[in-house]
Symmetry: C2
Subunit: 660 residues, 2 copies
């Protein structure tokens, strides 16, 4: 082999450094050193994407005397892409600039490949891809009697020489298989390093060149578990899956699970085992469907409410269920997946997002980092409605949060004909104010009920969004008044007295598959009033705390928020008045937050920072809460004005219903 | 409560800081902030131990404007303990100096309580007590609805306020029991923090005030396991215990265990389980004997040879048993005790000392940090004789190491009447050069054989030190020549031909409890020559590498080294000539090194630094080795001069035996 002259090249801001042969282009050097520079034209010098800046001087800082004279001469083609000013600053195209001496090369944000991606699946959010686990391909010489250096030290030397990385820690489980892996792979391996801890740590050594590194983001809801399998390099969601929370058999809601854990021997471990096994199951399914195995998962980021958080970790949730509801910890925590019984890659870590408070968990922090109200000026209310309602309010000046027991009414539970959002559930209702006749849509059918042969509708019950619609429509049609009571002496075949008091028939028995009239009762209306009253009163207290007269927008997070009708929600007064276009759903923002934490290390810092900065308001100790709650039971409210809603209703000829 | 004025007080070099009430003494402040200042007179102002220095200025460095004017006036009693010069430097007695403003207080070495101790038991070495695990007592207010802060954050706040510590990480297993412990203990707990990782980590939260924190140091030898239970605050050895290495049934020596691991399914895990169970057993025994439990152990520091290292960790030792003998890792590693199946406190870590090379393990690094040849000028040879012989040579200029297969002869194995050092073993021999009659001592008897009724001696065999003595005495008495052969035509009842060739009767059958003459045979002499020849040749090669003509001292490490006679060792030529007073035993230096690593965090850095700085010499690839080995088989050597030994023998009238 002829002796080629070598030069030291350091890329900033990544800090990768290495020896590069004389005469190679900066683009070639970047590839050798594992620095990603955008170059979409295939080095045809036409795209101008591969802009870099040659740093002059800097010996003290980098130990290398970089100079613009160490690069080949300026080429006419470069003038197309740079102003004279940029040229003077040292900008060059990486594809045409050849290396003739030691260099420090700065890669500007716009030239960094893989930096910004827009994820397609699930919810469309911009996620910066800056994962905690990164994979590096290295090649080593095998040991000899004259060079019997240990395996770990050999790996460290290669990481240093080929990627400019200082020696990382080594996870014990990786150490176990390392000698065999290195030899079986001919000393060519991909080393995955986790940067999420106090010091970088090797979490996997895989044979050969690994193209895709994957991680999992999970949102554990009280009722369901959603999982997102992500490519840690591109940020792409490779697969999505969900399942019923396997803890449901131990209690439908948080309090009943806490009770189960406290009243059964080993109850907490049954709950923990259930969710761990559930995640193991979903991890196998979600990976195998796209050609991986659960052992390829390099990291998990996970959110849940505080009680599910404790159950997942196996912490007795006793103290969480009693005043003052102090959680075991707020801060995020990294735990080895194996310590939890999770069957991922043996060295994998689990990043558990931080909790805000006893009733505002990591899931709400997920919403927070997905929505980033702390970066915005407008005064927002973010409502995450699950079995509990969690509220965040504020803007970049100040953020507060609270939690209120909405009860399960908004999810269709404890409602006479309530059911989950499944085929046959009424999800959309309109009642004609003049005829007081309804039309509705059931899940699974394309047409409205009045466009179908009654026998083919197959109604089974009402889901959450249908219940909100029902109450709003009953009110708009004048069937119930603003206190929620049925207006007296209405003569209509659908308005009648049933076992639970006054009721309205939404579907006659022949339109159902259950052979009974599906009704909405005065008790159902009351349940919705209680739920929405709690949400509204919470929001009001929070507005008072922040000194807000009005809100600029209302964000509905959570799967449930995606299905409800924002206009109907406004009509029942689920939240204070805003222009209807300023109330919108964002889908599973908690899951998005988990995904963002998985893919972007900076989001983890944001999560810990904001989980503590958000001031939690314990509504139950607020003296004004009870009075606010009572007033908020009215439709839409006893006293508050709804100018935006009034305008909307005026357009429908219903302006008199509410105050302006 | 009246508002007391508070001042910031910072103690150096510990860096502890906190708010202290106006008018308190510096000694009181030190106790509040957990800084230990010596004060043996009980504040009677008579001992003068509590000397501290008030630092002036330093705002930029500490963020606090410290001033000598912030302390109460100089008291006449202080003049007894300080020179005028010291007074000008700002020295005061902490017990009489009252705080009237912000202060930076330097606590000099001599005033630091518990800093330096001299350990009494086992081997007397000065160990600086600077453990990786430290325990802090904190008191907290319980949470309320108005202060529902999480448990972990509450602990962190208390650590900050009461000890000036930044929030440590929290081990997952500690988190599990934390909520209950805090409440059951009335929010008064002792928090043990491990500083051995990349960031401090809470490894235990114990109720109330814990007086003693304990750790374990273990030396796993091929044949035996030694354990030292240490007080992590005082450095004291609270208990010592040892046991047979439970891996012995799988192979007496290293190579046979490697073979077992490779040739039996799950062989490595059997070996690992055996040693882990052994350490669990010894940990229970050693703690319970002094009123603790194995769950009180906060950290383990452990040494072994490289093969035992791999077996302990469960790494297949296949590659270690084959050229080029590269170990899986050299560097030290911290592993959670639970990951290894060790039953200590659930958050405990294991510090595994680094390996030097494939055949020079962490035990030799233990010897290195115990002996510190790198801090000394004189040219030392340190020999650790176990089943393998490990050699370190050099001084602060340069250190090299090597390993040679001495075989088990020096431990009494593969010797016709060889046995372990146990009652009945001949441990000391003298042969009269004129009468060629021996006298000897057996373990368990106070008198020499010729002072006893033969029937009461009860000889059973010869242990390692006896075998060295036998060969040396046979040589000195002219019974064998310098090649190890029996001199021809000797007429003596004790010199005869047996099954194994020429032999010498050490003990007649009536002096034994086995009813047979105990002899030393030509084959036994040959075995000793092979062992000592390997050690000597190794030392010679190392001297050549270092350019040494002579050595200044020889250190015999290991239990075996403590029992052999240094003069007899010199006579047989186990190591190159030094003045006999400059050859000395230091006991189990490897175990001492483990103990020092447990007790002094700085020793861990030293271990990693020197494990790599010591240059390992692979003797088997040294061209000169074979010739040196052959010459070193002679007694004491074929060619080398032994001037010191000659002087010694001349005093005994045996000067002609060897070259000067």
């Amino acid at each position: 082999m002829s002796e080629k002259k070598m030069h030291t090249v350091i890329f900033q801001p990544s800090g990768r450094r290495g020896q590069v042969e004389e005469g190679k282009s900066i683009l070639q050097a970047s590839r050798e050193l594992g620095v990603e520079i955008e170059a979409i034209c295939g080095e045809k010098r036409t795209c101008g994407k591969c802009k870099v800046r040659i740093e002059d001087g800097f010996f003290e800082r980098y130990g290398v005397e970089s100079s613009r004279n160490h690069v080949s001469e300026w080429r006419p083609v470069e003038a197309k892409f740079f102003t004279e000013e940029r040229r003077e600053q040292g900008y060059r195209l990486a594809c045409v600039s050849k290396i003739h001496g030691d260099l420090v090369v700065f890669v500007p944000e716009e030239a960094r490949a893989g930096g910004q991606v827009v994820r397609k699946a699930v919810t469309d959010r911009k996620i910066n891809v800056n994962p905690s686990v990164r994979t590096y391909y290295i090649e080593m010489e095998p040991p000899t009697l004259h060079d019997p250096l240990g395996d770990y030290e050999r790996v460290c030397n290669a990481l240093k020489e080929q990627h400019g990385l200082d020696a990382p820690l080594l996870d014990y489980k990786v150490l176990l298989g390392m000698p065999d892996t290195l030899r079986a792979a001919g000393w060519k391996v991909s080393v995955s390093i986790w940067f999420g801890g106090a010091a970088p740590e090797i979490v996997r050594i895989a044979p050969g060149k690994v193209d895709r590194s994957i991680g999992l983001a999970v949102d554990v809801g009280t009722t369901s578990v959603a999982a997102y399998l992500c490519d840690l390099t591109t940020g792409e969601v490779l697969n999505y899956d969900s399942m019923m929370n396997p803890q449901v058999p131990y209690g439908e809601d948080v309090m009943s699970r806490i009770t189960y854990a406290m009243s059964h021997e080993d109850g907490i471990h049954k709950l923990q085992d259930a969710i761990i096994e559930g995640i193991n199951t979903i991890a196998s399914r979600i990976t195998e469907a796209v050609g991986f195995t659960h052992e390829d998962i390099l990291e998990l980021a996970i959110v849940f409410n505080t009680a599910m958080h404790h159950c997942f970790l196996g912490i007795y949730p006793e103290h969480l269920g009693l005043a003052p509801y102090a959680p075991a910890l707020h801060h995020s925590i990294n735990i080895k997946a194996r310590d939890l019984g999770l069957k991922f890659c043996p060295g994998a870590n689990v990043f558990v997002l931080p909790n805000e408070a006893g009733f505002v968990g990591a899931d709400n922090v997920g919403v927070l980092i997905a929505e980033e109200p702390y970066n915005k000026d407008d005064r927002a209310l973010i409502i995450d409605i699950g079995t509990n309602g969690e509220l965040i309010m504020g803007n970049k000046e100040k953020l507060i949060s609270s939690s209120c027991a909405t009860g399960p009414a908004l999810e269709g539970a404890h409602i006479k004909f309530g059911m989950r959002a499944a085929p046959g559930a009424i999800e959309k209702i309109y009642i004609n104010p003049e005829t007081k006749e309804p039309r509705y849509k059931v899940i699974g059918k394309d047409k409205w009920s009045d466009e179908m042969d009654p026998e083919t509708i197959g109604t089974k019950g009402i889901c959450g969004s249908g219940i909100i619609d029902a109450v709003a429509e009953l009110f708009k049609a004048g069937i119930i008044d603003k206190t929620g009571k049925f207006v007296k002496n209405q003569e209509h075949p659908r308005i009648r007295r049933g076992d639970d008091g006054d009721e309205y028939v939404l579907a006659w028995a022949n339109e159902t598959s259950i052979g009974r009239d599906v009704t909405i009762t005065i008790k159902d209306v009351r349940a919705v009033q209680l739920a929405k009253g709690a949400l509204y009163a919470g929001a009001k207290i929070m507005m008072q705390k922040l000194g807000y007269d009005t809100l600029d927008r209302v964000v509905l997070a959570g799967a449930f928020g995606s299905f409800i009708d924002r206009e109907e929600s406004l009509v029942i007064g689920m939240f204070p008045d805003v222009p209807v276009t300023k109330a919108y759903a964002v889908g599973n923002a908690a899951g998005d937050g988990a995904r963002m934490a998985l893919l972007d290390a900076d989001k983890r810092k944001e999560a810990d920072e904001w989980a503590r900065k958000v001031e939690y308001i314990e509504l139950s100790v607020e003296p004004a809460f009870e009075k606010e709650f009572m007033m908020a039971m009215h439709l839409p409210h006893m006293k508050d004005k709804f100018p935006n809603l009034k305008t909307l209703l005026e357009e429908q000829g219903l302006g008199d219903l509410i105050k302006g």
